[in-house]
Amino acid sequence: MSADLTDDSIIRFARGVRLQHDRVRERWIIQAPERAFIPDPIAAEVLKLVDGTRTLGQIIADLASRFAAPVDVIGRDVHVMVTDLMTRQVLVA
């Protein structure tokens, strides 16, 4: 599965999964079938950029510029994270 993931891949949420702000607990949550995940702050920043039109490369470039971090370092972390979230059926590419 990770072999299929490139910087050109367009990432989107699987149907029935979404990022939502939890107003009462003041945090972001991933709503999924019969479970809710709490993304860590970095994952939340990545997921806020997942809109079904951006490529993985565009998401990485955006994060690298906003957090003034090297693209290759951010890119590696984001690939690992997205692959994990695909295994958990949160994201599809």
């Binding site: 599965m1 699987a14 149907r15 029935g16 999964v17 939502q20 939890d22 107003r23 009462v24 607990r25 949550i29 709503q31 079938p33 019969e34 809710a36 695909m86 295994t87 958990r88 059926q89």
Partner: protein, 368 residues
Amino acid sequence: MTETILSPMSLLAELTHRCPLQCPYCSNPLALEPRQNELSTAEWISVLDQAAEMGVLQVHFSGGEPMSRPDLPELIRHAVGLGLYTNLITSGVLLNEKTFPALVEAGLDHVQLSFQDIDTANAELVGGMKGAQARKIEAARLVAADGMPLTLNFVIYRENAARVPQMLEAAVQMGARRVEIAHTQYYGWGLANREALMPTAAQLEQTTEAVEAARKKYEGRLTIDYVTPDYYADRPKPCMGGWGRRFINISPSGRVLPCHAAETIPNVAFPDVKHDTLDHIWREAPLFTMFRGTDWMPQPCRSCDQREKDWGGCRCQALALAGDAAATDPVCARAPDHERVKAVLDTLPAEPPPFRYRRYARATDEVG
């Protein structure tokens, strides 16, 4: 010490106890609510409003068969509008090409569809409804064709335990994204049918192996939730994630409960949404405060290092097995009543007795 009161995460809305099926392991109480006692649409709408305000994130529309309620699409639409994640827990026998589009249009997020077995003859024997299996398979097809995420739920018991591998294979073929392989929990009807349903230790081991093999085989395609029968465990489950910590159950008549079996708890008033607000009930009703946190715990729980992990196990199970809802869950190997669990397993009959099917009590039984 004052216990911290968290906001509830999850609401189980039991819209009705009416159901075309009669499964002998049903989680509903033995005393089923008749239709005339059910909350109105407006009352359910108010429950949803209050739940969202309190911080509930997911609402599970259940029953009975929730599709028996004609206002289901309206309730889903309202919940969606509040930002709640909507889940339909259904037998599927009323889900067809006439009824499903209204649920899609309302914005339903997910369907959990139950099967009694993968073997049609046994499934229909257990559910007590001829033709149910074909309807369920059609329901699964409709949900999968729409693209809505689908979970299949298989309750496991003595007669179907050997077929877990076929159930998992069928789940993949039907396009399910999740499957629950859930051993019967012994409350309500399940408790009444315990001797007929309880698997052997060897059967339990087989189902565990089947689930582990399938988790590897279908990784990334199928999420498998596996629930074991806790009679065979030596540590209790953290029932509901702790009493009054995460979960609210609303019965068809509007009773507000910490779990779906809580109506068995004696000597306490059952609060309901017709007479009080959900938030006030959650914070202050004795039914919720009585087992919240750790202050209520007896020994050995009170000084146990697991007390904030398993929360003392299950109150309804303590009541059923030890005769005291405030006892340590007898499933725990450290519990004074642990021998009672072993005694149940040691005295299982070689031949299972006939089922006592889930049915409404006859009118003559109610007055008698």
